[in-house]
Symmetry: C2
Subunit: 354 residues, 2 copies
């Protein structure tokens, strides 16, 4: 494989010196880009786009043609794993993801198949291989998965949720069933992410979108424990290169110390925590990714630059910061505002790396 | 007015000694109780129930007949104030609250009327007076309001929201308009809560349901600043009695120190923070209310008691704790589980007050 031309993202995650703070955006390939909408229309539905390696590669590369991004991220969905386990994923128009066969008892958990990353999930690995080849070493490729807890919320609720009634009933009334599910998911995610690494992902990220709806004790028990298992099971070097792993729990700002204890390389931060305080708490142990409110991209160019400057100052001198939004970019953001944001990070961060 | 027969709730908020930890539940008058549903059906729609002092009193008292609660809370809605300001509140079936005339520009803010608590909002004061009379001094009556930021989210979005797109656009692109709105709301809330106190509320609580969707800087600027103004403007003693004030920001666990700086008597906690760590951070300055996950009421009696014991132990010895759920009780909780919870708090807390 070719050497990376731009390795700022990997270096910052490993806390090695960089010339500028690297930046990428969660959901950078997505509906705010007209070219994404065109490719999506060509593919048909959302999962057909994920299953077509050439089109998944195309949408992955689209934001890199517009913006000076320091990383590409595999275009896929967090629910590919539960789908491959046999739950029947579908997208109801305007309602988000749904499963035809949600989990409600021990037998449902026992019946789950352990998906073969080069079998049921080979379409994802094909996308990784295609994207890695087409990137031609310009920037690193990030692989990803949902966290076991976050995947389990969809699998038990049968889709998106607000109050997480069913999974919390299971957590508090039948914790053994839920632990069996989470353990199977952790094993599947380890296989899935290691296969992505073997296929070409140069860093991986675990998205724990819903860990923040738990109490501190329940977070450790039902979410963090299984992310720690994943961190332990991952290939941390491949082909002679370190493979940094980032854990991101939305609304997890109160638990940074525990997240760092897993041995991950970096923690993703949403925007509800001050970067300086996060750095003071865990910055000696891990790199930090984040943390601008995605809604700031609705503001004027001046206001966006001001916010970037504030967050850079909050992190201060030195490496160990990957700039990002605190969550996915909103679908109605003007693409030119994303460019203002990305350029501002590079321009304004240089003095912090002298 | 008669002396309170049970003043545990007030004493705990003022950090005076108690025999047992007081307990009440957010939304304790509500749809999980069949008798509530019957009264609601009698009233017609939700706002008709709020506007009828006798029926609002009836539903306020219903949970006190079933459970050994240490406080009653006025039955009303947080959106009474924006409604009285002229926005036209209505409830679309299955969609939550909506406004016919949401706020989108400076002129909309200028046109808002400052509601007279004994005029447009007299129906609320009538409910307070009726409930206070019918309580006959058994337990204290809590008055409440939404926080300016939380009220503004509904007023600008036109109803409930997930991404808070419109109000964040306003916050980041036109902050002066939003500050003008928040300032008017703070003044209205001060009048509204002081009128509730004059009508008989013995403690007041400000619900900041949506402050947690902001960054730390934006939280201080757009939410906390206006709650601090309210704390400053409230009657803190009335009729010779102290009137404790509680601030509750959902997902505000990272900002407890700043919340305590407002000079409030107590902070409401959701379930994402450990009670011991909250006490260590701000327990010398304020009382703490919370913080069991409302979903724990789906569990077995044994598991509910175990969770109550854990939270009591986490707070430890001494006063300054009002037990509560970390958010409103879910509408599908069996009432008998609420009884297990309330009784467990009283039974298991006694040794901590010896």
């Amino acid at each position: 494989m070719t050497e990376l031309k731009n390795d700022r993202y990997i270096r910052a995650l490993l806390k090695q010196q960089v010339d500028k703070t690297p930046v990428w955006m969660m959901r950078q390939a997505g509906r705010y880009l007209p070219e994404y909408k065109a490719t999506r229309a060509q593919a048909g539905d959302f999962m057909s786009l994920c299953r077509n390696a050439d089109l998944a590669c195309e949408v992955t590369l689209q934001p890199l043609r517009r913006f000076d991004l320091d990383a590409a991220i595999l275009f896929s969905d967090i629910l590919t794993v539960p789908d491959a386990m046999g739950l029947g994923l579908y997208f109801a128009e305007g309602e988000g993801p749904k499963f035809t066969r949600p989990i409600s008892c021990k037998k449902d958990v026992d019946n789950l198949i352990m998906p073969d990353p080069e079998g049921e999930l080979q379409y994802v690995m094909n996308a990784v291989r295609t994207i890695r080849r087409e990137l031609k070493g310009e920037v690193p490729l990030i692989g990803f998965s949902g966290s076991p807890w976050t995947l389990a919320t969809y699998m038990v609720e049968g889709g998106s949720s607000k109050a997480f009634t069913k999974i919390k009933k299971m957590a508090f009334a039948d914790p053994k069933i839920l632990h069996a599910l989470l353990d199977k998911l952790a094993d599947s995610v380890i296989d899935y992410l290691n296969a992505q690494i073997a296929a070409g992902a140069q860093s991986v990220m675990v998205f724990d979108t819903w860990g923040g709806v738990l109490s501190p004790r329940d977070y450790k028990d039902f979410s963090l424990q299984y992310m720690a298992k994943i961190v332990d099971g991952l290939l941390r070097t491949y082909d002679g290169k370190k493979i940094p792993v980032t854990l991101f729990t939305k609304n997890g700002g109160q638990w940074l110390e525990s997240i760092a204890d897993t041995g991950c390389d970096a923690i993703g931060l949403d925007w509800t925590i001050d970067m300086a305080s996060a750095k003071a708490r865990v910055g000696s142990r891990v790199a930090l990714q984040g943390n601008m409110d995605p809604s700031m991209l609705y503001a004027s160019p001046e206001r966006i630059r001001e916010e970037v400057a504030t967050i850079l100052q909050s992190f201060g001198k030195g490496t160990g910061h990957v700039f990002n939004l605190g969550h996915g970019i909103h679908l109605d953001v003007p693409p030119e505002n994303a460019k203002v944001f990305i350029d501002a990070v590079h321009e304004l961060s240089a003095p912090y790396h002298l």
